[in-house]
């Protein structure tokens, strides 16, 4: 496998024959395959992947995950996932696992199925959803995901329906003795005036590497509201690549929050299109990385029509040799007047070897707009540390308090209010921080 010039090509050609779905799905896969062949792994000249080198993937002999239903995995590290009351759906290695999911208490107006089941039974119901929010022509990993399209989740909420409990999608990567590549697809459609909360946890176990390459497509019809919280909490040997394409109709509201606690290598890209007037998108993130972890949060918010608003706050804490990349682009179309777009990226470096690459970018073609962006990178403040320690707090605790304080502003933005996943995220964060992160002795010496 490794001697092939284009990785995954065997997965793609072998898969084509027996994957589920009708001619539309087959045609879509073929396009995915063609685009993957044209694009391949992003190379040195790729601007979009400039800070995130993925050529190493070609040296890992990934196997394709088996298509059959996964057996109930005994050792899912559930403690790594978000907690709280929710309708849980578990996907093991990209395959929806009915045994581990509880889909029986769904209220009227809510449909939640495995993508595979839908592809087998009524593939035509996906025609105006599948492949619509993303463009595989320019995105190699979305092309790869599409070429291997087989399973995932389809969530449909009928117009006017409000889903009280969140839906919690747990992506589990589980490897044994060989490396696995999995390519789940998540499709979400919120009918007019509906409202829901979608939680996603990416967790994993296993000694061998795993590539989780997911694509999520979300369509919000007019006045629909979606709160979407994604936790990334994968082991070192894992690579997590994700692309989400989200379209907002008139007065629709989307609020996404990404909590990145890492994988060895991760790149999460979100592309939001505000295509109905007075729609609002919030896209916030917090990341806490250490060791050699790398997380790339890339976003595109496209204001296509007038009077839409978007806000974005990203805060990263980087220790050891960790690297945090934040590329955020806002595009305001020529007639998208009265656009209000805000971006704020901040990184806290705890070690001289940690690196933050922040690139806020505005592309404005309209004239009556309010846009602001800013980026700042710095070390822990020596004055603040002295103030805390001068009260008797030991330096390690003081650093922990400052780090928590730095992240507090981001955590406040976790959607869902008091019943949302904020506490669960705060717990995971506290556990992470009580580890060695705050212990860096030379933290304040960082220039």
């Amino acid at each position: 496998m490794t001697d092939h010039p284009l990785p995954f090509i065997e997965h793609l050609t072998e898969a084509a024959a027996h994957l589920p779905g009708g001619p539309t799905a087959a045609a879509l896969r073929q396009r995915g395959l063609d685009h993957w062949c044209a694009l391949g792994l992003p190379g040195r000249r790729s601007e979009a992947f400039k800070y995130t080198r993925l050529d190493g993937l070609k040296d890992i002999g990934f196997h394709a995950a088996p298509l059959r239903d996964p057996h109930p995995a005994a050792d899912i590290p559930a403690g790594d996932a978000l907690t709280g009351d929710a309708h849980v759906v578990v996907m093991v290695n990209g395959r929806c696992s009915p045994h581990l999911s509880d889909l029986d208490r769904l209220p009227d107006g809510v449909k939640l199925d495995s993508l595979r089941a839908v592809l087998e039974s009524e593939p035509e119901s996906l025609d105006d959803l599948l492949g619509r929010q993303i463009n595989t022509e320019h995105h190699p990993f979305a092309a790869l995901n599409t070429g291997l399209l087989a399973d995932g989740v389809v969530l449909t909420i009928a117009p006017g329906t409000t889903l009280e409990r969140p839906i919690h999608l747990i992506h589990v990567g589980e490897t044994a003795d060989h490396a696995l590549a999995v390519h789940p697809r998540v499709l979400v459609r919120l009918g007019q005036g509906s409202a829901a909360t979608l939680l996603e946890s990416r967790i994993g176990v296993g000694g061998a590497p795993c590539l989780m390459n997911s694509v999520t497509e979300i369509l919000l019809e007019a006045e629909a509201t979606l709160d979407h919280v994604s936790l990334l909490n994968l082991p070192e040997g894992f690579t997590s690549l994700a692309l989400a394409g989200i379209d907002l109709g008139q007065k629709a509201r989307y609020h996404g929050f990404i909590m990145g606690l890492g994988a060895g290598m991760a790149r999460h890209e979100t592309r939001i299109r505000l295509s109905g007037e007075q729609a609002h998108a919030g896209l916030d993130a917090a990341a806490v990385l250490a060791g050699n972890q790398h997380l790339d949060i890339t976003t595109l918010i496209e204001h296509a029509v007038p009077q839409c608003t978007s806000t974005q706050t990203v805060k990263s804490v980087l220790d050891d040799s960790a690297r945090g990349v934040v590329q955020g682009k806002v595009v305001v179309a020529p007639d998208a007047q009265k656009t209000d777009a805000r971006q704020q990226f901040r990184a806290l470096l705890l070690s001289p070897k940690a690196e933050a690459d922040t690139k806020p970018e505005l592309e404005i073609y309209a004239d009556d707009v309010a846009c602001a962006h800013g980026a700042a990178t710095g070390a822990l403040d020596a004055e603040q540390l002295f103030y805390l320690t001068s009260r008797g707090i030991d330096p390690r605790t003081a650093r922990g308090l400052l780090i928590e304080g730095f992240l507090a502003e981001a955590l406040e933005r976790v959607p869902g209010g008091a019943h949302g996943p904020r506490d669960s995220l705060a717990d995971l964060l506290a556990r992470r921080l009580s580890g060695r992160l705050a212990a860096t002795p030379d933290a304040e010496a960082t220039p």
């Binding site: 103030y387 805390l388 001068s390 009260r391 707090i393 003081a398 304080g405």
Partner: protein, 250 residues
């Protein structure tokens, strides 16, 4: 034994010598005031006592309760009983005053071999102390000093001091920025802490504060040295004549 004894203390920042041989002993139960022109080294002295980084002590020593504290870090000094009310209190975004003080209080209790404070007890302590210092209740739920007015910041430092009950209180221009009422409230807060085992070093530019917190000893500080020591009347004399006599001498 003095609570703190400073002997021939020389300290520099980079190449520049700021403290040029300070001798000072504060007995338990006494209040020492330090007055002196801008740039004389008053804050430097209090920072060096508190153990702030960036100063190099080139000569002399500081004995706290008879022990040399040269090797102690700021948090160890604080847990031993030293408290510095800052000339410019620092803002800590995202960390509430209550979280901060609870951590500080428990650090001291832990060092003293005591159990952590019970949440209810802590809350009561915070509320009672805030009331005594005329601080709004919500201040303790806000991030430390963030968006506090100048006077509120100074009062918040005295609030911390009242909760932590140190044995040596270093007050660096706590009166600057306080309105007349706040000055009284803060002074009352400080006076309430006066006790036979506690000592105070009060840095100020204004005699006014010393009408409220009556000092036992007044020092005039100029160019890194104590150039004169007297009783409370020395402050009045300074108020009338300024520092000209001393700065010329220094």
């Amino acid at each position: 034994m003095p609570l703190i004894e400073i002997k021939n203390l020389h300290a520099r920042i980079g190449e520049r010598e700021i403290l040029k041989g300070i001798n000072l002993a504060i007995e338990p139960g006494t209040v020492h005031a330090v007055m002196g022109p801008n740039g004389a080294g008053k804050s430097t002295l209090s920072n060096v006592i508190a153990g702030r980084e960036g100063y190099e002590v080139t000569e002399g020593e500081i004995l706290f309760n008879g022990e040399n504290i040269a090797e102690l870090s700021p948090d160890e000094r604080a847990r031993a009983g030293i408290f510095l009310a800052f000339q410019y209190p620092v803002e800590i975004p995202g960390v509430t005053l209550s979280t901060f003080l609870k951590a500080a209080l428990n650090a001291r209790r832990k060092a003293a071999g005591e159990a952590e404070i019970a949440p209810v007890e802590f809350l009561k302590l915070m509320r009672d102390t805030a009331r005594r210092l005329n601080l709004p209740d919500d201040l303790i739920r806000r991030p430390v000093n963030v968006g506090f007015s100048g006077g509120e910041k100074k009062r918040a430092d005295i609030f911390q001091m009242s909760v932590l009950e140190p044995t040596l209180c270093l007050l660096d221009e706590t009166d600057s920025g306080l309105d007349i009422d706040a000055l009284k409230v803060v002074s009352e807060g400080v006076n309430a802490l006066r006790s036979p085992e506690r000592g105070f070093l009060v840095i100020t530019h204004y005699q006014r504060l010393l009408n409220h917190i009556v000092p036992d000893v007044v020092h005039v500080f100029a160019d890194g040295r104590i150039v004169k020591t007297g009783d409370a009347s020395l402050a009045e004399e300074l108020e009338a004549n300024g520092y000209a006599d001393y700065t010329d001498a220094a």
